[in-house]
Symmetry: C2
Subunit: 446 residues, 2 copies
């Protein structure tokens, strides 16, 4: 071999184990990932990498699994400032008596900045590289995610009633369209349409959301069939299930992400499968609010694309997607009455490539394949208290927690190094969080 067959590149990551996600169900050993700019150039055995590449930087991860960054497909980032404020309550009590009043009092631009940074810090620390957000002041969240270098789907809120961010459907849709136009070709920011739920948005704004999606290509994310009450009430009011109403209004399609779906009939599955709509599973929120159980195994068996989200930290109460996939994998089995349901490898796919599919970016996110964006995380499996390791995929899902994430890169840019965040000033953030907590605590005491 002569020198001219050696390719130069920016960075090389040497991994003890590598789970590429594509091909699926595979754990490779002693692999190198070669990165040039923001992209993966090659994934290949270490010995071969030694012969074929010369890089400016080499990161050795001798006790680590390297895999694509996690994609957290549903949340309300800034609500992290309300984490654990009100627990052990049913969804409507929690919303009516605690969350909505607190939002009314506190949500402002500065609240959004500080709460979103808190959420991004926790997500980065625990392995998420792309998140979806649905909350007020989406322009601010978009700018923050962009400036931090995180990928984010930013769903602007759409509701029948006024909020801190806008006066009603017209205002939301106008501001939302501006948001879409501003960010539509950005590699980090994916603007999207976020009608809150069938019970908070009327037919007309829902139809306009569908039209806006068609016009701009923006995705739609909506809370759907979260509780039995939602479905029962809708049937009384509209004479049909919420998902049927969405289908009639043109809202259900291959660009639609249906969040929660704990109530799923066979005809719902047909609607989902035929339309190509995606389901975003939020198991911990569904359990904690006693909302219900999503039939994960049945959806996957019927070819519905299932991704996963943590929901907001106010309902969950954390944004650790590794914890979420553990819960998902365990609960899916008992719901399916089948211990083979949602295997460890499937759970990892749900949190990576399936999220990429829901975003329509599976050609460049969600797996470690040459040509894709270098959104990569490493998890240190050397912790003595999780030994022995027979199958790293099993450990990631069943014995792991997000704090074991040691490294993270988004588009080749380091975000976490040896467990430390590189792009968020955590001590400064903590001062701002402390101020908010004191204000919120005072109000609660009233």
């Amino acid at each position: 071999m002569t020198a001219d067959t050696i390719t130069a590149a920016d960075m090389r990551i040497n991994a003890r184990w590598l789970i590429p996600i594509e091909p699926s169900g595979v754990v490779l050993e002693h692999q190198a990932v070669i990165i040039q700019g923001s992209r993966i150039v090659a994934v290949l055995p270490v010995a071969q990498a030694d012969r074929e590449f010369r890089t400016r930087e080499t990161i050795n991860l001798p006790h680590h699994v390297v895999m694509p960054g996690l994609i957290n497909m549903h949340g309300h980032a800034a609500m992290s400032l309300f984490r654990g404020m009100a627990d052990d309550l049913p969804l409507m009590t929690w919303l009516n008596d605690h969350i909505w009043p607190a939002e009314g009092r506190f949500v402002s631009e500065q609240f959004i900045i500080d709460g979103t940074q808190l959420a991004m810090a926790e997500m980065l620390r625990t392995g998420t590289t792309t998140f979806s957000d649905m909350y007020f002041f989406p322009e601010i969240v978009a700018q923050l995610a962009h400036d931090t270098g995180m990928r984010a789907q930013i769903c602007f809120p759409l509701l029948d009633f006024p909020t801190a961010w806008g006066s009603g459907p017209d205002d939301y849709l106008n501001k939302g369209e501006a948001l879409i136009n501003e960010w539509k070709d950005n590699t980090y920011i994916m603007p999207a349409i976020g009608p809150h739920a069938p019970y908070t948005v009327s037919d007309e704004p829902l139809s306009r959301a569908a039209a806006l999606s068609k016009k701009t290509g923006a995705r739609i994310q909506i809370h759907l069939h979260e509780t039995e009450f939602e479905v029962t009430e809708a049937k009384e009011k509209h004479g049909e299930r919420p998902i049927e109403r969405l289908a009639k209004l043109g809202v259900l399609g291959a660009k639609t992400q249906c969040v929660h779906m704990t109530q799923v009939s066979d005809s719902d599955i047909t609607l989902l499968a035929d339309s190509g709509a995606h389901v975003i599973h939020c198991p911990e929120s569904n359990l904690k609010l006693a909302s219900g159980l999503c039939p994960v195994h049945k959806l996957l068996e019927n070819g519905v694309n299932l991704a996963i989200g943590t929901d907001g930290a106010a309902s969950n109460n954390d944004l650790d997607l590794f914890g979420e996939i553990q819960t998902a994998a365990m609960v899916a089995k008992v719901v399916a009455n089948e211990a083979t349901a949602l295997s460890a490898h499937q759970a990892l796919q749900v949190a990576t490539i399936n999220g990429a599919k829901a975003l329509g970016r599976e050609h460049e996110l969600g797996s470690l394949v040459a040509g894709k964006l270098a959104d990569i995380i490493a998890i240190d499996l050397s912790d003595p208290f999780i030994q022995p390791v027979y199958d790293p995929a099993s450990h990631l899902v069943y014995s792991n927690h997000g704090r074991a994430v040691s490294h993270s890169w988004i588009g080749g840019v380091p975000q976490v190094q040896d467990g430390k965040l590189t792009r968020i000033d955590v001590p400064d953030l903590m001062l701002r969080v402390k101020d908010w907590a004191e204000k919120i605590r005072e109000q609660q005491a009233v």
Copy 2:
């Protein structure tokens, strides 16, 4: 105040927050725990402690919750060496094709020593101070726990068939009675009778187990109603539900711990409540093996004492009891269809005082009360990625993981200091675990 009103004591722990468990549902702030020898002398506000006590040692825990050590009421410690060896399989396949063959090949005295130490290390690191074990060579486990200074209920196995530890029921019961006699008045070791399950133990040995319990006062722990199949098969074979059979044989009483109980009829609840038997809930094992869902809320409402266990790391796949109570609290809500079910405070009680009740040691374990044994843990809540903290009880259950445990004492003896184990040589243990893992991996590859 004069000097002679000041009491001398060994140690003082100053805690930012303290959850005493008794009284229930309370979070106290800025408290001191005073320890003399192996016992708690007082729990009182810091300012009062300054006036009333002088101690040789003071531990300041300014960002921590202090609470009683956790009680892990069911496990098979040495099986930690099989962690993650076989996942995503139904209970009987997992047992027949993986676990039982591996046990046949590997279980020996040295396996028990190394596997049990691995489990104790993980349990100590994550906040458990008392555990229950049901596995082969119980004499070795008892000695190890004793020498490490952990409290342990050691259930000797009782089965119809021979194992590495004995030739059959006579042999098990003889060896078991000797174990009981050896340890019966020890503060650390609680010898107990461990008939494996109704489907692996015949009437005669079950009756003899009941008689041995009556004679010696030893508790009985048995896997019961773990799966629907177990109940259905028993009804075909014996014409009754397994718990009814146990009641007839005299096995069900106030000293009996029924592990799993995913299949619970109203008449089962009556039997449990009337007999005073305890239920040991193992939610993650029940989910992961698709065994079923224990009706936690209904059992508690009907006055049944419910404690919690991780089960073995081979089925779970970790021994982090904080993770287990999070799962328990979340799943209980959806099973009860009520978000108020198993609140954060209740979940903490299940893992402390309820375990103590199941062991018959609620007078000296399970809460931070003057006179009780000083089995105490501290959890550091300063992690930036779980801020803000409005309610430490909420954080312990819904946003926490066992790695946040910073300190642990058992009978006043330090076991964990700043996250480091004091009484187990972890690097040496890791060498032995590595050896076992290599052997087991080789056999799996065959």
